[in-house]
């Protein structure tokens, strides 16, 4: 999607604001949201669907929301779409807690212990797959990032589309997010680290000697 989440190279957001001695969470509800996302990832949706659900937020709402507010919007949507909860019961329940601000989740239901796999065994390693076909590109190959504008989920940022780069290494084979986010299967393919010179990306606005490396799936790339 050509959407607001694809922020690379945009102007107008001002200086980076930092918080001294920042706490891990700013409010107790944030930790609950993090846990409910992990539980969803283990039981109801994959990480690509989750990222795409964030991308499907209204662009203005995306920018107005904090990180965990975006997570909440995404998991509400996915738990409903996956049929774990209905939109109606969520709305009714939300209204109840708005009318009873002192009530806790456990006032309405006594949670039962759940089996251990309430979070993915190892979310970090879930996306590597065994290679199927040999990689099409090798280090040193010149490539062009395709100029494509899919309406669905993609991990090819706009700022690199149509730009020329050089393959630096092949990272192995990974699940393809563009299909995995849409129930179209994992369709694993090689991922490459591709170096794009700053002048290639930004022309005369490049702020000096440098480059950006992106990790790109094979089908994002054409030989140059």
């Amino acid at each position: 999607m050509n959407d607001i989440h694809d922020l690379g190279g945009m102007h107008g957001f001002g200086p980076v604001e930092r918080e001294e001695h920042e706490p891990v969470f700013h409010a107790p509800w944030e930790r609950t949201v993090l846990a409910m996302m992990r539980v969803g990832q283990a039981n109801a949706f994959n990480l690509d669907e989750f990222r795409h659900a964030i991308e499907r937020m209204d662009p203005a709402a995306y920018l107005a929301s904090s990180y965990y507010e975006r997570w909440l919007a995404a998991i509400e949507r996915l738990y409903v779409e996956k049929g774990v909860v209905t939109a109606e019961e969520l709305a009714v329940r939300t209204r109840y807690f708005q009318e009873h601000p002192e009530a806790q989740a456990t006032d309405l239901v006594t949670p039962r212990p759940v089996a251990r796999p309430s979070q993915p065994g190892d979310p970090r390693t879930l996306f590597r797959r065994e290679g199927t076909a040999p990689p099409k590109f090798k280090p040193g190959d010149r490539v062009i990032a395709r100029n494509i504008h899919p309406r669905g989920h993609t991990r090819l940022p706009r700022y690199v589309r149509g730009k020329r780069g050089v393959v630096e290494r092949c990272h192995g084979v990974f699940v393809f997010p563009d299909t995995n986010a849409h129930g179209l299967g994992e369709q694993p393919q090689p991922v490459y680290s591709v170096r794009f010179e700053a002048v290639e990306l930004w022309g005369e606005h490049a702020d000096g000697r440098g480059a950006v490396n992106l990790d790109l799936w094979e089908s994002y790339l054409l030989p140059a």
Binding site: D6, L7, G8, G9, F13, P15, V16, H26, A27, W29, R31, T32, V33, L34, M36, V39, Y67, E69, L72, I75, V84, V85, L90, R93, T94, Y96, F97, Q98, P101, A105, T106, L108, V109, T110, P111, R112, P113, V114, S118, R124, T125, F127, R128, R155, P157, Y159, H171, V175, S193, A198, L201, D207, G208, R209, A211, V212, N213, L214, D215, L216
Partner: protein
């Protein structure tokens, strides 16, 4: 966040409680699920695994080679096993590295903990690739024109950590002495490791 829009918070809290109670009802959330998932990020206040790896790399050339070429094996030394997606990029007098995720906020949680809010902000995500030098200047880091700035946009499932340069004045310091000076910011690439002048001055240059 309450600070930005104070009237939103109660509504958010109701939505979170609603989903939480429904997931409990459906048997997906147990009495201790939230604490079990989240506690390790809240309670793990010791030095980051990433910092431990850097301190070791500074004193042990073989370990440094391992960290740069087989990070999974290098991290296993500090008890982090099966983490097979970390790429460690080395700062040198010729190259400064900076890590970002422009599309969301990908970050190497197991080695650096949860990301700070600034890392997830539109300002950082938009500018790190376009004007890294201007950005770094705001963080107090002036990169000379002849030194290349390499930005790593975490656009896939690989995760990045910077191996900073060992600070001047640290010659002869042990791994344990170096460790407290290795900050998260240096491992993301928005800072360099610097010794307080009291320490650096007390040592032969």
């Amino acid at each position: 966040m309450g600070k930005n829009h104070p009237n939103v918070e109660p509504y958010i809290v109701s939505r979170v409680r609603a989903l939480e109670s429904l997931l409990m009802e459906k048997g997906l959330l147990g009495p201790d699920t939230v604490d079990r998932i989240v506690s390790r990020y809240e309670n793990d206040t010791g030095p980051l695994i990433g910092a431990r790896a850097v301190a070791r790399a500074w004193v042990d050339p073989d370990y440094k080679r391992l960290l740069l070429t087989d990070s999974q094996a290098a991290l296993a030394v500090f008890g982090l096993t099966n983490y097979d997606v970390l790429v460690v990029v080395e700062n040198t007098p010729r190259v400064h590295n900076l890590v970002v995720c422009t599309l969301c906020s990908c970050y190497p949680w197991p080695v650096l903990g949860l990301p700070p809010t600034w890392y997830k902000s539109p300002a950082y995500r938009s500018r790190a690739v376009l004007e890294p030098r201007a950005l770094l200047r705001e963080f107090g880091l002036e990169i000379p024109p002849e030194r290349e700035v390499r930005v790593w946009d975490s656009s896939a499932e690989l995760r990045y950590m910077v191996l900073p340069m060992r600070p001047p004045g640290s010659e002869g310091m042990t791994e344990e002495e170096l460790l407290p000076h290795i900050t998260r910011d240096a491992l993301v690439g928005v800072a360099e490791v610097r010794l307080p002048s009291s320490i650096a001055a007390g040592r032969p240059a």
